[in-house]
């Protein structure tokens, strides 16, 4: 019987305590931020959209290898022999044309693993977070500035260079072989 009345008393008392809490909060300042009108300033480390400074990219593919979800796709073309591709901001010389640097933000897991291996600090995460779209394909960001013609031109040149190199190599090899042969003996008749 005592327990019965104690229960009733406790119920009433604790309900009143709880009501007191909510009553006090009725007059405390709300913590909500009215988002589109007021925006929080994000700390500089905020990991939101990826950004690549293409001038600094040397096409080393470190970020592509580091990405755990394969959202970065890079294609490079070797620069010409005497071509000057400029320097990165930390003074490294660029040797490759980065003809394709695609980041699919729809796949990105925002781990920032790609940021750390970059030797030139070209890829970084920015506090930019408003990139919602209705179309998933627009999340694929292309950073490379080469036009398709330029790319095919560069690729063509690279192919030619490669061929030339291969030819040179083959010629070199052949020459070496011949030299070897010549050294081994001159008595053998030459074929054709």
């Amino acid at each position: 019987m005592r327990q019965y009345f104690k229960n009733i008393y406790e119920a009433i008392a604790t309900i009143l305590v709880g009501m007191g809490v909510t009553w006090r909060h009725l007059f405390t300042r709300a913590v909500t931020i009215q988002y589109p009108h007021v925006k929080r300033t994000l700390p500089e480390r905020s990991r939101m959209q990826l950004f690549v400074e293409m001038d600094d990219c040397i096409g080393c593919m470190a970020c592509e290898r580091a990405c755990p979800v394969d959202c970065i796709e890079i294609k490079t073309v070797r620069g010409g022999k005497d071509e000057d591709l400029g320097q990165t901001s930390n003074g490294q010389k660029k040797r490759l044309h980065v003809v394709q640097f695609d980041i699919d933000m729809g796949k990105c897991c925002y781990c920032s693993d790609c940021v750390f291996p970059c030797p030139t600090g070209a890829i970084r995460m920015t506090p930019e977070y408003e990139f919602i779209t209705y179309d998933r394909s627009t999340l694929l960001t292309k950073f490379a500035t080469y036009s398709p013609e330029e790319i095919s031109e560069l690729e063509e040149r690279e192919r030619k260079e490669k061929e030339a190199q291969a030819a040179a190599k083959a010629a070199k090899l052949k020459a070496a072989e011949e030299a070897k042969k010549a050294a081994a003996g001159t008595d053998e008749p030459k074929s054709e």
Binding site: Y4, I8, I15, M19, T22, H25, L26, R29, Q34
Partner: protein
């Protein structure tokens, strides 16, 4: 009947020249439309208030966008949204009953307004058995809930309906007994008579009349009425964490809106009854405040109780079914019976 007719005759004198049946029909329809309009407006305001109150109690702001000032048009926007939403009826549902259920629930809530005394002049129907009438009306809502829950052909809905029925049927008893305590002291069941019996200042109100007996009766009625309108901590029939949405899980669009409207109308009805029976209805607390018209006092008192209902809702967790029954049968009912007994003794001695 007379006060309302008189009220309308004063308001629109030409009505008295019309044939009686026509005048009466017009008055009846006008009163019903007024009540419906009141419910609609009240629901709009109450839902907005509920959002703002819950928001501020939770350190939030609540709706802020629609309509400019503190999102005052949010509920209107939501109503429009509900109106144009697709009305989904489950394929295996019992269609006639499914469609009927929200109407019954809403009609029951609307019928309750018939006997509310807004002021000494304006009482839609001053029944001799007014209070009993209100108690009887709530059984319609029960059937509506049961109908909706069963016809949805959803097990969660059925659970919600079963809980709702057992809850409302049980809590009618302490609610009726608590009101009976006052009926005993006032000697009438007419709403008007009940208010008239409390005339004087605040100490003549029933809530202080047989202090502390009627005060306890007031709290008992308030708690039981919370249960009757399925508000937290007694919102088991729709307890969203257990039964998804309870009896209205499968309802959408306007049918859902009618359940919702019914709930808010019921909130007002039970608060208004408490205000009438215990807090002196349209009477001001002191004679000096008599210049404020009666309906404002009445609505103000009812709104105060509605606010307390909301306040409780955003404070308390939900009871379990067996605890609900325990509270009803082992706490509220014995207490209300004891109060009736004591008031009887008081009256006799």
């Amino acid at each position: 009947m007379e006060p309302l007719v008189q009220f309308f005759f004063n308001l629109l004198p030409f009505l008295s020249d019309w044939p009686e049946w026509l005048a009466l029909t017009v008055i009846g329809v006008a009163a019903a439309i007024m009540m419906f309009g009141f419910i609609a407006i009240f629901a709009l305001i109450a839902i907005w208030l509920e959002r703002k109150i819950s928001g501020h109690m939770q350190d939030r702001l609540g709706p802020m966008e629609v309509g400019g000032w503190h999102g005052w048009a949010q509920t209107i926007a939501d109503t429009v949204k509900l109106l144009v939403k697709e009305d989904i009826i489950p394929e295996k549902a019992d269609r006639p009953l499914f469609k009927l259920a929200p109407m019954i629930v809403f009609t029951a809530a609307l019928s309750g307004f018939a006997v509310l005394p807004w002021s000494s002049e304006f009482i839609p129907a001053d029944l001799d058995v007014g209070l009993l009438y209100i108690l009887s009306i709530s059984s319609f809502a029960v059937i509506g809930i049961l109908m909706g829950g069963w016809s949805s052909n959803n097990k969660w809905s059925l659970y919600g309906a079963m809980r709702g029925v057992s809850q409302v049927v049980s809590y009618e008893i302490p609610a009726a007994l608590a009101l009976l305590a006052v009926i005993m002291s006032a000697g009438t069941m007419s709403m008007r008579g009940l208010v008239m019996a409390q005339s004087g200042n605040i100490l003549d109100w029933n809530v202080f009349n047989f202090f502390p007996l009627t005060t306890i009766a007031f709290f008992i009625y308030f708690i039981a009425s919370l249960a009757e309108v399925n508000r937290t901590p007694f919102d088991l029939p729709e307890g969203e964490s257990e039964l998804v949405g309870g009896f209205h899980t499968e309802y959408s669009a306007m049918r859902f809106a009618f359940f919702f409207l019914g709930e808010y109308a019921n909130m007002f009805v039970v608060s208004a009854i408490a205000a009438t029976v215990f807090l002196g209805g349209w009477l001001p607390p002191f004679e000096a405040l008599g210049f404020i018209p009666g309906p404002l006092w009445f609505v103000g008192k009812a709104l105060l109780l509605v606010f307390v209902q909301m306040w409780l809702r955003w404070t308390l967790p939900r009871l379990r079914v067996d605890q609900l029954m325990y509270t009803c049968w082992k706490v509220l009912t014995p207490f209300s019976m004891a109060i009736i007994l004591l008031i009887g003794l008081w009256k006799v001695l």
